[in-house]
């Protein structure tokens, strides 16, 4: 029996991942051994500390450019995106941990209790939310960190599962409207499983394609795939089918049309803090992976996939913008807006060179903070039955609580891309390189759909400010410290990235280079 040789491991490079996964395991132990009433006060600081520690490690690693264990690439984009995921997660954790707005928080205490039974109503009134939320979300964050650094399709697949499975579970844990929440989780899980299967099948086809390389062994690490795209003697059908299937898996997570159908249902059904988490962090993770796959592994096939992905991008923008117009529920509206934004991000992914890459990364951060602020406001607009998400209920909100209406207006103007908000600078950051790369029709589609999208945003502004408040206009709950903090961070980031985007832009462009 030959002795197995361990590959050299750069522990510092993968420290952020290790910290998050370690914290998740610790969180599970806390759930098991710490008394119930102490769990929340222990879990939230633990998760936050882990995120901050991981973020520190990312900063420490700032100059690292290595591929360690052969499967994890720690380079500029990885570190930038990991930093983005961690920073956004920190804000999202504040929302997830809020317990002052609703007694016990936004999550159910015992998900297994039958919805709407007397016992369920009792627990909705009194019991504190499940503590499992924290280890589950820390696992998800850890998975996302691996996902954006994976330099190998198989690692990428595992990371995909590591961050998806906790999200499926978390979706089902809403305290209110539990049937809707469970339905959302079910949909997300089933469709997500399909997407994973597509990804896996694509992976297998790519593996087969790399077998056509004469001088090196078949494999699904990106260097091999890249070499195979240039030199493989295997049938290109394998490559094209493989790229398509892998792309479907990733585009599903990115919520791009026509793989977007889960998005409105899941965004609506999931507990709102979690919706914010998914809209911000999952988007970063999914596009991080898309960037790496298309810029590193399949770089050589750019001419083949660009028209197809371009069509997907246009379709995504159209679907997001057009359906947003007809929505009557604020969470569904934000879901379709997030679909449209996925389309703009795809424009960035398709721009060749480092301009598109840095623009996309900038967009991800800017959008993440704005969308978190948006969902933070949504958690606050409530009545006796929980959040009032139907748009008609928002009429006259500006009169009842001008501060929150003003904040939400600012966020909506950012989504609409009005200058002095990050929404404008980030649009510029992706459309500029796209036009430079000759993708004129993508930019025109982006501009046209932005016009359409402005209408639903404006309608909400009109509702809040220009309509008279009715009897059913809910009041805005006084936010606890955590939600306030999240809201302030989100709005400030939206403003600062709109007025002074230079530091982050510089960071993004200096980070925009993959190790290969």
């Amino acid at each position: 029996m030959t002795e197995l040789e361990l590959p050299p491991i750069d522990y510092a490079a993968i420290a952020p991942i290790l910290i998050m996964l370690g914290a998740a395991v610790l969180g599970v132990l806390v759930e098991a051994f710490v008394p119930r009433r102490l769990r929340h006060p222990v879990q939230l600081p633990l998760a936050l500390l882990a995120v901050l520690a991981a973020l520190t490690m990312v900063v420490v690693n700032a100059d690292k450019r290595v591929i360690t264990i052969g499967v994890v690439a720690v380079d500029g984009p990885t570190l930038f995106l990991q930093g983005a995921i961690l920073a956004l997660s920190a804000v999202a954790l504040l929302l997830l941990g809020e317990r002052a707005v609703e007694r016990g928080g936004a999550f159910v205490a015992q998900a297994a209790v039958t919805a709407d039974s007397p016992e369920d109503r009792r627990q909705a009134e009194n019991a504190g939310g499940a503590g499992e939320v924290y280890p589950l979300s820390t696992f998800a964050i850890g998975g996302m960190l691996i996902f954006v650094s994976a330099n190998d399709l198989l690692t990428m697949f595992i990371a995909l599962e590591v961050f998806s499975l906790p999200l499926y579970l978390l979706c089902a844990l809403a305290r209110r409207r539990r049937l809707l929440s469970q339905e959302a989780a079910m949909k997300y899980f089933l469709l997500g499983a399909y997407a994973s299967a597509f990804f896996l099948f694509g992976l297998a086809l790519i593996y087969g394609f790399t077998a056509g390389l004469g001088d090196r062994a078949a494999g699904v690490d990106f260097a091999t795939v890249n070499a195979a795209v240039a030199n493989s003697t295997a049938s290109p059908v394998l490559l094209f089918a493989g790229v398509a299937l892998v792309a479907i898996g990733l585009l599903f997570k990115a919520a791009a049309a026509p793989f977007h159908v889960w998005t409105p249902d899941v965004y609506q059904g999931a507990p709102t803090p979690l919706t914010g988490f998914m809209a911000a962090c999952t988007k970063v993770a999914a596009f991080g992976a898309l960037l790496r796959v298309f810029h590193v592994a399949f770089e050589g096939a750019r001419w083949d996939f660009t028209p197809v992905l371009g069509a997907v991008a246009v379709l995504t923008m159209l679907v997001g913008a057009l359906f947003a117009v007809t929505q009557t529920d604020i969470k569904r509206l934000l879901a379709y807006s997030s679909i449209a934004n996925a389309g703009y991000l795809l424009v960035g992914v398709l721009s060749p060179g480092s301009g598109g890459l840095s623009g996309t990364m900038f967009y991800l951060v800017a959008y993440g903070f704005t969308v978190l602020a948006a969902f933070a406001v949504v958690t606050l607009v409530r009545d006796a039955d929980g959040e009032a998400t139907h748009l008609s209920r928002w009429a006259g909100l500006g009169r009842r609580s001008p501060v929150y209406a003003a904040v939400f207006t600012f966020v909506l103007l950012a989504f609409a891309g009005i200058p002095m908000t990050s929404g404008f600078t980030s649009k510029f950051a992706v459309f500029g390189p796209a036009l430079e790369g000759g993708q004129v029709w993508l930019v025109i589609a982006g501009v046209l759909t932005s016009m359409v999208l402005a209408f639903p945003y404006l309608r909400v502004v009109v509702l809040m400010w220009l309509s008279e408040p009715g009897d059913s206009t809910p009041t805005v709950a006084v936010p606890g410290g955590l939600t306030s903090a999240a809201l302030v961070i989100g709005v400030l980031a939206t403003l600062v990235l709109g007025v002074a985007p230079e530091p982050l832009l510089s960071l993004a462009s200096s980070a925009a280079d993959f190790v290969r």
Binding site: L413, A416, G417, I418, P419, M420, F424, T425, K427, F428, F431, G432, L435, E436, V443, I444, V447, L448, S450, M451, A454, F455, L458, R459, V462, W465, L466, S467, A500, P501, E502, L505, S506, S509
Partner: protein, 510 residues
């Protein structure tokens, strides 16, 4: 003194004032009004100093300042003003204090916060100054778009009937234009070597196809803003629903951004495309003159009527710009100023009438001159200025536009002249139906109609009337400032004025 950063201070000052006013307690509305008024007077004083410092025979762009903003994209806070921008800045500085004074009680009729109304006016002043003072295309675009926000809330929160509809329509129309321009701005940035500086961009050579597309992107935005036919439908709604003061600024200044943008950006940056599109632009302008004038004749709502007259006037400005002669160009810019004064006055006076009557419908008036003779007189004067009676300022500009156009394009000049006849029709008929004739008995029962111009209102209208008469007889101070800038613009477009043909004159005299 010429080293003083006039333009950036002028841009920032109203914003600071707005913040101050917004945070004044809601319970002390008078204080908010006084602070806002005082602040706008300060801005006016500074503008006057700037006007005096401006050297007529100096560089084309003066008061240039530049600070880095986003080096990654080559964006700078670059401010600079040529003669055209200078006169527009002066117009803003003059109009805003008067509008604040005229709107003294406007905000009270709505249930909204009074300080916020005046803060919004000051924010609007900041963005308006910024848009004319910017010499960086990106900065210009930022102000161009941000300008929508205060106006949107002014119309939507403090307007009359249909204010929601009007506000949304205004916002969406402008945003659509703005997004076309955004695409063109990015395109210009790419072909211009990642640069936004106006001076550098004006020297870039652009291929014919790209130049035409970029021209169109900018032109559509400006044509919606101005507005030119057929992009004009938002203006009557917005002008009709906005409070009178905001409407005066909307039509008097905001819309000039469109015509100013064409002069500053479309012509010098894309000269060949501008020449190529000129016949189309002239056609739109001429249609606008006739069509809007006809619609104005048929209006029964005073504010909508004034809005339609403005669309007709913008047609004249468009003709003046695309005739490509110095006379017509100078006339167009002068028209922008004079129209701001005359229509501003008209809107404010109409607002005073509406505030008294509680209705904007022409048919609700009749013989009002018997009750409020002074107000009726001012309305008559504003109307005459608006139809460009000789002796009032608009006459000079309209005349310059027409003779400047006649030398190069007779049919357009002839058709445009018809617009003057129609102008007489809509103005005189409106004045006749509201203030002349037998007294509408309903008017005598309204207390407001028994009050003629108050001292505050007199202070509002007096400077405007004085300026209109002054510039009607002696426009030289303004034309002297405009002329060099227009000549430079015409050089950018590579056009020279046709030489006066002495032969024909001699032949005619034979």
């Amino acid at each position: 003194m010429s080293d003083f950063p006039f333009l950036s201070v002028l841009t920032v000052a109203p914003l600071v004032g707005a913040v101050v006013v917004a945070f004044l307690p809601r319970s002390r509305p008078t204080l908010a009004k006084q602070v806002a008024f005082g602040w706008s007077l300060l801005v006016l004083a500074l503008s006057v100093v700037m006007w005096v410092t401006f050297q007529v025979d100096g560089d084309r762009f003066q008061f240039r300042e530049s600070y880095p903003w986003i080096p990654n994209w080559g964006v700078n806070f670059t401010f600079a003003a040529d003669g055209i921008a200078l006169v527009m800045l002066m117009l803003i500085a003059v109009l805003v204090p008067l509008v604040i004074l005229a709107s003294w009680h406007d905000a009270e009729s709505s249930k909204r916060s009074v300080p916020v109304y005046f803060a919004l006016l000051l924010v609007l002043e900041c963005t308006m100054i910024g848009v004319f003072a910017a010499a960086d295309v990106f900065l210009f675009y930022v102000f161009f778009e941000v300008m929508l926000v205060p106006m949107y809330f002014l119309i939507g929160s403090y307007g009359g009937n249909q204010r929601q509809y009007a506000a949304v329509k205004f916002f969406l129309y402008s945003l659509v234009g703005g997004l076309f321009m955004l695409a063109a701005v990015i395109g210009l940035w790419v072909v211009g070597g990642k640069n936004f500086d106006w001076v550098a961009l004006s020297e870039v050579d652009i291929s014919t196809g790209a130049e035409r597309w970029l021209f169109l992107g900018f032109f559509v935005a400006f044509a919606i803003k101005a507005p030119f036919f057929p992009f004009h439908t938002w203006l009557p709604d917005a002008g009709g629903a906005a409070p009178a003061g905001a409407a005066a600024l909307l039509v008097g200044v905001l819309d000039k951004v469109g015509t100013f943008g064409i002069l500053r950006y479309c012509l010098p940056l894309f000269p060949d495309a501008a020449k190529w599109f000129a016949p189309w632009a002239l056609a739109l302008a001429v249609i606008g003159i006739i069509y809007a004038a006809l619609l104005a004749v048929g209006q029964n709502d005073l504010k909508r009527l004034v809005s339609y007259t403005s669309i007709a006037h913008f047609g004249f400005i468009g003709v003046g710009i695309f005739a490509f002669t110095t006379q017509a160009g100078t006339g167009a810019v002068l028209y922008m100023v004079n129209h701001g004064l005359a229509t501003g006055l008209l809107f404010l006076v109409v607002g005073m009438l509406i505030a008294r009557r509680g209705s904007a419908l022409v048919s609700d008036f009749g013989g009002a001159g018997k009750l409020v003779p002074l107000l009726a007189g001012v309305l008559f004067f504003a109307g005459l200025a608006s139809l460009a009676l000789p002796g009032t300022a608009p006459f000079v500009s309209e005349f310059l536009v027409l003779i400047g156009t006649f030398t190069v394009n007779k049919p357009v000049a002839v058709i445009a002249t018809l617009g003057i006849v129609l102008a007489a029709a809509y103005v005189l008929w409106m004045v006749q139906r509201t203030t002349q004739g037998t007294l509408n008995p309903a008017l005598t029962e309204i207390d407001g109609m028994k009050r003629d111009l108050t001292l505050r209102e007199k202070v509002v209208v007096a400077p405007l009337i004085a300026l209109i008469v002054l510039l009607g007889f002696y426009p030289k101070p303004v034309t002297d400032v405009i002329n060099p800038a227009i000549q430079a613009t015409m050089q950018d477009v590579d056009r020279t004025d046709p030489a006066p043909s002495v032969d024909t004159v001699q032949e005619a005299s034979r």
